[in-house]
Every structure is written in structure tokens, then in C-alpha cells.
């Protein structure tokens, strides 16, 4: 599904990703953990095509297609989805109109018909319920005036609507209390399927109690310095990052 090889990327003159390799097969969930500032969000942004990063080496392919050849919207239409660490507020842009535009753009690129109003509405209500979100959310501007938890749930709601092949969840757990975390995790788990892969970026092991990963990677200083099964997360929880990061540096 996703194949990243030797990826290096700069912000300005500063090298943030320094040779990153990652292989994700269909249906797998990979957790990426690491200290603050290690480049997790940068990795997510570079994959989804945000401006301001310069890829200096390496490649990233989604089902064989070179992502770096594509515009952000083309990557999304190919099935890539990023749940933002900091969802952007869009005052004046109606949530429902936004979702419809997104869904129809993606469906159109797949050669599917646009949704009719009734089935679109039905689908939305169904997915909202899973995430314990109120219908009134649809009438509000995207993320505008949403609480922190609502913003994060809205990201997962969008993911549920857009049904991506590969979803990257960037610290979707941060700032959530335990109940909200459980709701988000349920939403994510409902979307697990043998065809859909996920990269769950998190700072804490806590989320992985609810979303069980197949693999755990540690990202530090722009490289994946350790990979393992879910027990690696527990080990990190217990010992912190120091022992690996320092061990690597030594």
C-alpha cells in the first residue's frame, strides 16, 4: 500500500526528515511514536503534500503511484487522508457543503456518481452517530468555534465519510479526555478493514490501548530508529524515549 524509501525533507535550510523508511501493507495499522519535534507531523504533511517542505531525497508511493508527483487534492482522491493534529477553522464555510464538495470530488475522480441529497444526508447522520456528534454540527462552519474534542471527532467523521485507503492520524488523541478518546477510537476501529491501512501518530501509548497497532515505530531526529510489535509501545511507556534515542546516538 504505502512504500516510503530514504525520505529526506527540509523546512528552509533545516533537515527535518533524515532518511525515513516505512512499508505499510493493506489492512495494517502502524503506530509512529516519538518525542516532540522528532518530525512526526512533518512526515504526515510531506506525504499529504502541504506546502513549505522540500523533499530532497527518497520516494513515497501509494499503491505504486509516486505521491510527490501529485497535488494534495490528487493524493486525497487516490485515497490518502490526513486527520490533522490541529484542524483548521474555516469561518463562513459550511460543514455540510464542505463535506459534499469533498465527497463528490473524490467520487468523481473514481468515476462514481455524485451522491443524491437524500443518501448523502442518511450517510452523514449514520456516521455522526458513531462519533457521538450532533446533527447541528453540519450547519456550522467547518471547525469554527468547535471545542478541541469536537474538532478531533470531526476529523474522524470526515474520514468515515471519505473512506480513504490510507489514513494518517496525527495525534488525534492529544487533548482528549478518556471518554472522548474512547469515542474516537471506536470511530477509528469501525473503519478498520482488510483494505484500509492506517498510520497512527501519537505521543502517548494510551491511544494504543484502544486502537491496537500491528507495528510500532519510534521516530527520532527524522529517522525511524526502532520498530517492533505493540509491546514496544508498552516498553516506551515504561522507560520513556531516552533509552532508545540516546542509545542510537551513542
Amino acid at each position: 500500500m504505502l512504500s516510503v524509501k530514504g525520505l529526506k525533507a527540509n523546512v528552509g535550510d533545516k533537515e527535518i526528515l533524515r532518511g525515513l523508511d516505512l512499508e505499510v501493507a493493506p489492512g495494517e495499522i502502524h503506530a509512529i511514536m516519538g518525542p516532540n519535534g522528532s518530525g512526526k507531523s512533518t512526515f504526515a504533511h510531506v506525504l499529504s503534500g502541504r506546502e513549505g517542505y522540500e523533499v530532497t531525497a527518497g520516494s513515497a508511493k501509494l499503491d505504486g503511484t509516486d505521491l510527490f508527483e501529485l497535488e494534495p487534492e490528487e493524493r486525497a482522491r487516490l485515497g490518502l487522508f490526513l486527520a490533522f493534529q490541529y484542524p483548521v477553522e474555516l469561518p463562513g464555510v459550511n460543514n455540510m457543503y464542505f463535506l459534499k464538495a469533498a465527497l463528490n470530488a473524490i467520487r468523481k475522480s473514481r468515476g462514481e456518481d455524485e451522491f443524491d441529497a437524500v443518501s448523502f444526508m442518511r450517510l452523514m447522520k449514520e456516521k455522526l452517530k458513531v462519533l457521538h456528534l450532533d446533527d447541528s454540527l453540519l450547519k456550522r462552519p467547518v471547525n469554527f468555534g468547535f471545542s478541541g474534542g469536537e474538532k478531533k471527532r470531526n476529523e474522524i467523521f470526515q474520514m468515515a465519510m471519505l473512506e480513504p485507503k490510507l489514513a494518517i492520524l496525527d495525534e488525534t488523541d492529544s487533548g482528549l479526555d478518556i471518554d472522548a478518546l474512547r469515542i474516537v477510537a471506536d470511530g477509528v476501529n469501525a473503519l478498520r478493514s482488510p483494505e484500509r491501512s492506517m498510520i497512527v501518530v501519537t505521543h502517548y501509548q494510551r491511544l494504543l490501548d484502544y486502537i491496537e497497532p500491528d507495528y510500532v515505530h519510534v521516530l527520532a531526529k527524522g529517522q525511524i530508529i526502532r520498530s517492533g510489535g505493540k509491546e514496544l509501545a508498552l516498553e516506551l511507556e515504561e522507560k520513556g524515549y531516552g533509552w532508545i534515542v540516546d542509545g542510537e546516538a551513542a
Binding site: 499529504s48 503534500g49 502541504r50 506546502e51 513549505g52 497535488e71 494534495p72 487534492e73 493524493r75 486525497a76 482522491r77 487522508f81 490526513l82 490533522f84 484542524p87 483548521v88 474555516l90 469561518p91 463562513g92 464555510v93 457543503y97 464542505f98 464538495a101 469533498a102 465527497l103 470530488a105 473524490i106 475522480s109 462552519p141 470526515q158 471519505l162
Partner: protein, 458 residues
């Protein structure tokens, strides 16, 4: 020759050309040459015209140096050599105007073609008690007394040049009179339809809106063209609100891309009255609007909002002059603009608070979204405050589309061009939402969306 002398000579030439043009128009507007009062020859109106013509002659012709025309050159206007519209145009049928109607808008409809009221295109329907609507020229014939002391009261002495020109030359327009307590439930829509003529013409409609104490009305005023005609509209509105009267006033300027547009709106508000105006400026190549507000009683509220879009070669200029001469009134000016291509806009708002106008509450803001390097806005909000117990604020912003917002939308599969349009409409939405008819909101949203779709937004 030095550059300075050169430019001052150019200014003199421009001033002369402008004076010549005004003179010619003024001549054409002499009482004998117009339809309004030639026959019935109301002395008072003839005198008003005379005075306006004299003011025109006496008034210094604006140059690039005069403050209120600093960013809005008059050269391109003068160069067109517009001449007065003389004959009413009668060839249009109701089918011709169907394409310019607002779908689903239920309103009493008054239609003016090239500045003249058209009875055959208008559909006034049944009007409630105490409401009079009709053509200015007809009312001047049938009931001139009703207009004496009212017409030209607000836009007479001290009005600006184009208003004086209108007074000297006005031929027709719409009169809307509500008696004390009258209530107009359906909105009244005034459509100014312009049709190109062989020579570039200027139409000078003159409107009078007067609401007696406690009266309420909703007016929708639209300027629209059939085709891409080159012409000029020089419109004047005098609006007087009695005590406790309420008027909501939507104004849509959707002139042809070659049109020149001038509106001078003079508003007078008595105690406790409420005026809510939403100005949407989309069309024309050169458009200037002056909104002038005065209070004649306390606790009156004046709300002026606006949205303008200026693209290639367009210039859109809003001037506001809000004068708080009495205590306890409030005013708000909130304008937003979207500039693209080589579009230019001017926002010049003056809120003046006299020494006695304590407890004035005034807020002015102008926010602009600039989508191209070549677009430009000159924004100048001014507060002049001589009272010490007031709440006044002003703010302006000039910004671009935020890259994070754009990326967020694109990361959801939405194309860059649609994403930009969505963000622009989001920005504009706050003003569009202030329109109080759903049909109108939908229509304006679509008009704005269409323009943005055609605009080079990259």
C-alpha cells in the same frame, strides 16, 4: 518641462474637460430640455435646478489632489463623453427582463429602463394602505405639492458634484412614501435596467423614500444591464426616516462590465429609527458610491454593510460620511472586499462625532481579501471625535487566503480553484447573510460564486 508642471497641466486640462462635460450636461438639463417640470413648471423645482446648476458651475472641479477623488480618477469617466438620455425606451417586454430577475423573490416590482420608470414592466401589485409608490415625473405632474420641501431636501445644498448634477438634470425615478405607521410587508424591488444606446448615455434616476413615524419597509434596489453596454448611471437617493421607522435596504450593483456607476445616497434618521443597508458591489468598470447619514433624533441606529468584488480593470469605490450630531445614536459600517486580477477598490469612511454627541456608539471595519499581486485597495477609515463619552472603534485588514485553510480543503480532495472559491465565499458570507431575504441571499451567493469562478484566482 518638469514632471510637476506637466502633471499640473494635465490636471488643469482634466478639470477643464470635466467642467465642459458638466456644462454640456447642465445645458441639456435646463428646465425646457427635460420632461419633469417643463409643462407643469413648478417654480420651486425650477429654482432648485437653477441653484444646483449654479453650484455645479461654482464648485471646484475635482482633480487628483482633491481628497475625495484621490484614488478614483475622473478622467476615464469624462473621456466617454456621456450625454443625457433623452427619450424613454419603450420597446422592452416583460419577457426581456425575465433573465435579470431574482428567482423566487416575492416583491412589489418597480422597473426603470435607462433611468425612466416603465409602467408596463413594473408589477407593483396591491399596495397596503398608506403606501404610495410611483414614478417621480408622474407625481410631479399629478401631485407636486406632496414633493415640495421633501425632494432635494437632503441632497440639496452641500451635496457633492454628481448629486448636484443629478438635481439639475433629473428626469425620473421612484417615489416611495409611507404614511405614519404604514407597513409594507412584501419588499419593494427597484430594478434599474440599462440598455446600451448608439452613443454612450448617462441616466440620472432620482429616488425619494420617505417613511413616516413608525412606518416599516424593505427595499431592494438593483442596477443591472442587458448585455455589455457602455453607459453611465448617476443615481441619487434621498431617504428620510421618521421617528421609530424601520427600513432595510439591499442594494445590488451588477452593472455591465463597461458601465460607469455613481450613487449618492443621503439618509436622514429621526429618533429611534433604524436603517440597515447592505451594499453589494459587483459590476461596472468604474463605480463610486457615497453614503451620507445624518441623525435628527436620538437613539437612532444606522447599519451600513457592504461587500464588493473588483476584478480586471474594475474600480469600486465606497465613500461614507456618517455624522453624529446628537447624543445616543449608533452607527456601524462593516465592509468587506475581494480583489482579484487588476481590480481596485477604495474604502473611505468618515465617522464624525460632534462635541454634543455623547454616548455615540460607532464601529467601522473594512476587511479585504486580495487574490492577486496586481489587485489593490486603498482603505481609509477615519474617526473624528469631539465628544468625550463615546464608544468608537475602527479597523481595517488587507490579507490573503490563508495557506493552511487552502491546504485543509485540498487535503480533502477539493481542487485548488474550488477551495479558493469556497474560502472567498466564506469570507463574503458574513455580509451576504445580512440580507434579509433568502431568495436574495441565494442569488447573491450565486452571483458572487459565478464571478469568482470566472476570475483568474491563481
Amino acid at each position: 518641462m518638469s514632471a510637476a508642471t506637466n502633471s499640473s497641466r494635465q490636471q488643469t486640462e482634466a478639470a477643464e474637460a470635466f467642467a465642459g462635460w458638466l456644462h454640456d450636461l447642465g445645458e441639456a438639463a435646463s428646465p425646457a430640455g427635460t420632461g419633469v417640470d417643463a409643462e407643469s413648471a413648478q417654480g420651486w423645482l425650477a429654482a432648485e435646478r437653477q441653484q444646483a446648476a449654479e453650484r455645479l458651475r461654482a464648485q471646484a472641479v475635482p482633480t487628483g489632489k482633491s481628497e475625495s477623488w484621490r484614488y478614483t480618477g475622473l478622467r476615464s469617466l469624462i473621456d466617454q463623453g456621456f450625454i443625457q438620455v433623452d427619450e424613454p425606451l419603450s420597446a422592452l417586454t416583460p419577457e426581456d427582463i425575465e433573465e435579470v430577475l431574482v428567482p423566487g423573490l416575492d416583491a412589489h416590482r418597480a422597473v426603470l429602463v435607462n433611468g425612466r420608470y416603465s409602467a408596463s414592466l413594473s408589477e407593483l401589485g396591491t399596495l397596503p394602505r398608506g403606501v404610495r409608490v410611483g414614478s417621480l415625473s408622474q407625481m410631479l405632474e399629478s401631485d407636486p405639492d406632496a414633493l415640495q420641501g421633501v425632494l432635494t431636501r437632503l441632497a440639496g445644498e452641500g451635496s457633492h458634484l454628481f448629486a448636484a448634477l443629478n438635481t439639475a438634470a433629473m428626469q425620473d425615478g421612484l417615489v416611495l412614501l409611507l404614511e405614519r405607521g404604514a407597513l409594507l410587508e412584501r419588499p419593494i424591488e427597484i430594478i434599474h435596467l440599462s440598455v446600451g444606446m448608439e452613443e454612450p448615455r448617462v441616466a440620472q434616476p432620482r429616488h425619494l423614500i420617505s417613511l413616516g413615524d413608525g412606518a416599516q419597509a424593505q427595499v431592494i434596489e438593483r442596477y443591472i444591464s442587458l448585455g455589455d453596454a457602455l453607459y453611465c448611471t448617476n443615481s441619487v437617493l434621498e431617504i428620510a426616516l421618521g421617528r421609530d421607522a424601520r427600513l432595510t435596504h439591499a442594494r445590488l450593483q451588477q452593472e455591465s462590465p463597461n458601465a460607469f456607476h455613481i450613487t449618492s445616497l443621503y439618509l436622514s434618521q429621526d429618533a429611534n429609527s433604524h436603517y440597515a443597508g447592505v451594499n453589494i458591489g459587483l459590476g461596472g468598470i468604474w463605480a463610486r458610491t457615497d453614503l451620507v447619514t445624518r441623525f435628527s433624533g436620538e437613539h437612532a441606529e444606522c447599519d451600513l454593510q457592504g461587500l464588493y468584488l473588483a476584478g480586471d480593470k474594475q474600480l469600486i469605490d465606497y465613500h461614507m460620511d456618517v455624522r453624529h450630531g446628537l447624543p445616543n445614536c449608533s452607527s456601524r459600517e462593516r465592509f468587506k472586499g475581494i480583489l482579484y486580477g487588476k481590480g481596485r477598490a477604495v474604502f473611505d469612511g468618515l465617522v464624525y462625532v460632534a462635541r454634543d454627541a455623547q454616548k455615540t456608539d460607532a464601529a467601522m471595519s473594512n476587511r479585504n481579501l486580495i487574490l492577486s499581486e496586481n489587485a489593490e485597495v486603498d482603505t481609509k477609515p477615519q474617526l473624528e471625535i469631539y465628544a468625550d463619552d463615546v464608544k468608537c472603534s475602527h479597523g481595517t485588514t488587507v490579507g490573503q487566503i490563508e495557506p493552511e485553510a487552502l491546504f485543509y480543503l485540498r487535503s480533502r480532495g477539493i481542487s485548488a480553484s474550488l477551495a479558493r472559491r469556497m474560502l472567498c465565499l466564506g469570507f463574503a458570507g458574513e455580509i451576504i447573510d445580512a440580507l434579509d431575504s433568502e431568495a436574495l441571499r441565494d442569488y447573491v451567493t450565486e452571483q458572487v460564486g459565478d464571478r469568482l469562478e470566472r476570475a483568474p484566482l491563481d
